[in-house]
Subunit: 180 residues, 2 copies
């Protein structure tokens, strides 16, 4: 592990802006209400099984279904997007918490897979579970930190991952519809 | 509601390939094992809080965090991606099930928002919930179908949404890590 403890280098460990994260932690510690965040997306249907999700001012996230599911296969489908979000969230978790511990990450890749039975989605099992039955995550982390340090990092990331907890918990989803 | 019942027009209702969906339902009805699907994504960390998720051969889904969370704000963050996936999934659900019912959709947009408390993610509440506390979905559906038809469609979509069920249920997430 090569952690440079000079101020300048530490600020750039893993390319993370440690100061910004530290400031946020300090702000939330001082004023608990600062931890309340609201996130948004707006989805527009484009015809067939194509849609796109707009988040703030970023390029929309396109969505479609494979031909076998009746789509035109122009983009990842929504359940693949969930797996992508989980992997991206874990990546932030490793980067943030490794940096906080002075651990340098050399390389990090995360393979995610999920099993899903289509019966309920296809209307063949009324009242059944339509979502993932299980999700498997395989993390490959290259670092010169010790195995003990990396194992502790890994446990902490799993215990604090927003998308990980969202999937492993029951989240209330309230839906309203307006017909026009 | 203007449902054209000629074979050609019906095949193109809502631009959906009804035949492909029908074939899949038929195949799963006949051979239950055909409903087992596995979906995958591979995430690569790019430095700081930036990463990208590769799904099949599509352009990767980029991810970052806002500056207030220590990121460089180059892309939607992972929890926004979850909301995007939910909206995209519901859009498929409306398109598929409206088509199956002969309902023409004129326009469909879906606003999704989710509240998330940062204490656990920031390490300030050990053992706490790091995920969304709740998610709200606001659907706007334009169609000349009756309110009763659209209400029934809406209920069916909610009961069969893969991403909706994934969020509203407890999904086992098994994680392994390899250090190198």
């Amino acid at each position: 592990m090569s952690v440079n403890t000079s101020t300048e280098a530490a600020t750039l460990l893993n390319d993370v802006d440690i100061e910004a994260v530290g400031n946020l932690i300090q702000a939330v510690s001082t004023d608990s209400s600062k931890s309340a965040t609201t996130w948004r997306a707006r989805v527009t249907w484009l015809g067939a099984f194509r849609s796109e999700a707009k988040v703030r001012s970023f390029d929309p996230i396109p969505s479609d279904e494979p031909a076998a599911l009746g789509g035109t296969d122009s983009a990842p489908n929504p359940v693949e997007q969930v797996l992508a979000a989980l992997g991206n969230c874990l990546a932030v978790g490793y980067a943030a918490n490794a940096t906080a511990r002075g651990i340098e990450i050399d390389e990090l890749s995360i393979d995610i897979s999920g099993n899903l039975d289509l019966h309920t989605f296809l209307g063949l099992r009324p009242g059944g579970h339509a979502g993932f039955d299980d999700i498997a995550v395989d993390v490959k982390l290259q670092s010169s930190a010790t195995s003990a340090e990396l194992a502790e990092l890994h446990e902490h990331v799993l215990q604090t991952s927003p998308v990980g907890h969202t999937l492993r918990s029951t989240i209330p989803v309230e839906t309203t519809i307006t017909f026009a």
